[in-house]
């Protein structure tokens, strides 16, 4: 098993290298001269040229990329063009805020999605089933930034129950987390429901009933254990998606997280920050997916056997 984990971690490296290359290549298309940006519009041409030389901006692409990767592996993602501070520090100081939001979002999504999905599946075609499917459909169709705005309108502006933005205390977490979690809850509900429906049709469920097993045990143990396996993958993907999708939610709620920092950086043409953030988030996403893969192997004995 350990060999498998190490192998997968090693496989991650080329992927991450590829990601960094991809994003670095994309960002290199950014128009404008970074040195000019830093020194301002009125800076003398020689100063700009000198800074360009210093920053190594005239070096060939491969060299610049290699330098980036080398630095990145040691935790140096460059300095922000706008603030001058280390990109990594900026990310690190804000990442916990984004992480809390994403984690809460996933927790909400799972706490709602799985039970509703199970109930829908076991009471297929009933009112509860139709109702939850409609809600799930709405949840998937709603733009989450709009949901956030509507929630602010209702709960902050009109009812004044919770703050409308920023991270002041725990009550600030409620609306952003719900906004983020709604879309995922909808997806998890649908996934759980379809997985359960499929499992309930299986022969081994019939065998369990033929043994005289009580119906609730059939559903909650025999069926669920099998049905949840594909759902785990979805949960993992959702978490990763939330890390990325937090960009919009953070903007709406003025949340001091990584996503909002990235949006600001884009406006200011601060390439290192954008680059660093995307690479950082992609790395986190990959690690989460790896973790989910391992979990999958742990939970499904058929896969476990392949790697034992």
């Amino acid at each position: 098993m350990h060999r498998f984990i190490v192998k997968r971690l090693l496989l991650l490296i080329p992927v991450l290298l590829g990601v960094s290359l991809l994003v670095f290549a994309i960002m290199s298309f950014t128009p404008g001269d970074p040195a000019q940006l830093i020194l301002g519009e009125n800076a003398p041409l020689e100063a700009v040229a000198e800074l360009r030389e210093e920053m190594g901006l005239n070096d060939p692409f491969v060299l610049r990329y290699a330098r980036f990767v080398g630095n990145a592996m040691m935790g140096d993602l460059g300095q922000s063009y706008t603030s001058g501070r280390d990109v990594f520090d900026e990310i690190f100081s804000r990442f916990p805020n984004t992480l809390i939001l994403a984690a809460l979002g996933v927790i909400i999504a799972v706490l709602i999605g799985i039970p509703v999905g199970i109930i829908s599946a076991t009471r297929q075609y009933s009112m509860i089933d139709s109702g939850s499917m409609i809600f799930a459909l709405l949840g998937v169709s709603m733009p989450n930034f709009w949901l956030g705005l509507m929630m602010i309108l209702l709960f902050s502006v009109n009812l004044g129950w919770v703050p409308s933005g920023g991270y002041s205390d725990w009550s600030s977490l409620i609306m952003p987390a719900i906004t983020l979690g709604t879309g995922s809850a909808a997806i998890i509900t649908r996934m759980t429901r379809s997985s359960m429906l499929e499992v309930i049709r299986q022969d081994y469920i019939r065998t369990a009933r033929a043994k005289g097993v009580a119906e609730n045990v059939v559903i909650n143990q025999h069926a669920l254990k099998n049905a949840l396996i594909p759902v785990i993958t979805v949960i993992g993907l959702q978490f990763g998606y939330l890390l990325g999708g937090a960009v919009l939610t953070e903007t709406v709620f003025s949340w001091p997280g990584v996503g909002r920092m990235m949006v600001d950086a884009i406006r200011q043409k601060d390439a290192p920050t954008v680059l660093g953030t995307v690479v950082f988030l992609a790395t986190t996403f990959s690690l989460v997916n790896l973790f989910v893969d391992l979990l999958y192997g742990f939970v499904d004995p058929r896969i476990k056997s392949q790697y034992a």
């Binding site: 009933r209 043994k211 005289g212 025999h222 254990k225 396996i229």
Partner: protein
């Protein structure tokens, strides 16, 4: 045939009818079926695919999926009780303990995320009121009994071959020593050599525990090997039943005759095979009167209008056919 007092039927199905209703269409899966079985007897339930054999078995077990399926009428009397009238709570106590069922495809009958030991122990735990430790021990014993080392109790189903999986299924079914085992085509999905092994195992266990068995199959050879009695199903009803030798030697129903005639004979060279002409009727649109009449070489006019009643000989050989009526004798169950 002994000269003892006739023993009470273990299972007696009377007039069972089961329908499936989907999208306004009704499928008549089981129609006025009658069947009986004594303790320790092995009955072969033969029929082509679609004759209603599995539905009958599910009906006995109370496992007919209830939204589309419905028991329209009839009685399933087991050890004196009509199972169809039992509340679900009590029926659950019958399943796995008094009546067990094993299904056709061993590859999908076992839960992939539970060890085989757990799956066997579960049925023991539910019904026998013993401790968990005891149920695990007994599960190991059952594995040994079906020819699998008890040490493999911690393995998962995918680690076993098809034949071994079926053995596990048999172990689960017999763990609580049921009075009746219903086996729905237990060897159809297996290789011929494995088939023989599994059948031998079933025979041995059946003798050891004196379990009555209903063996559902479309394979006449299997029936010949294992069964005492045989019942032939067509379009949801039993058209002929009786002692296996009697039915083979004194075949009475035209369908059964057609079935036996269609088997190629190893001893004689044959130019053409003799299938029964026509096809199985559409269960949503069954023929009137005797359901076999459109394909029957001996049909007469009244076959299309009248449902044949069962005609019984003194040996307990039953057949449902109108043209047998003149030869009918009042059934008397005295053995001579």
């Amino acid at each position: 045939m002994s000269s003892e007092v006739t023993t009470q039927d273990l299972l007696s199905i009377e007039g069972l009818s089961i329908v499936y209703e989907v999208d306004g269409e009704t499928t008549y899966a089981v129609n006025d079926l009658n069947l009986s079985l004594k303790p320790g007897e092995t009955l072969g339930l033969i029929g082509e695919t679609g004759a209603g054999k599995t539905t009958t078995a599910l009906g006995i077990m109370g496992l007919v999926p209830s939204p589309p399926g419905r028991i329209a009428s009839g009685k399933v009397v087991f050890a004196g009780e009509d199972l169809l009238q039992l509340p679900e709570e009590q029926m659950r106590r019958v399943r796995g303990k008094k009546i067990s069922m094993i299904f056709q495809d061993p590859m999908t009958s076992l839960n992939p995320v539970m060890t085989v030991g757990e799956q066997i122990a579960e049925v023991i735990l539910i019904h026998e009121g013993v401790s968990r430790k005891e149920s695990v021990r007994k599960a190991g014993e059952m594995l040994e009994m079906v020819g699998i080392p008890a040490a493999r109790a911690g393995d998962y189903p995918h680690q076993f071959s098809g034949g071994m999986k079926q053995r596990v299924v048999i172990a689960i079914a017999l763990a609580c020593n049921p009075d009746l085992l219903i086996a729905d085509e237990p060897t159809t999905a297996l290789d011929v050599t494995i088939q023989a092994q599994v059948l031998d195992l079933m025979k041995a266990l059946k003798t050891r525990y004196n379990t009555a068995m209903i063996l559902i199959t479309h394979d006449l050879g299997v029936v010949a090997q294992v069964c005492d009695k045989v019942a032939i199903m067509y379009a949801g009803e039993v058209v002929e039943s009786g002692d296996i030798r009697d039915v083979y030697e004194n075949t009475r129903h035209p369908y059964t005759k057609g079935l036996f005639d269609s088997i190629p004979d190893l001893d004689h060279t044959v130019g053409r095979l003799k299938p029964i002409k026509g096809m199985m009727p559409d269960p949503t649109d069954l023929p009137s009167g005797c359901k076999f009449h459109p394909r029957c070489p001996d049909a007469v006019a009244s076959c299309a209008t009248t449902m044949p009643e069962a005609v019984t000989t003194e040996a307990g050989h039953i057949a449902r056919c109108l043209i047998l009526k003149p030869m009918a004798e009042p059934s008397n169950r005295v053995q001579g």
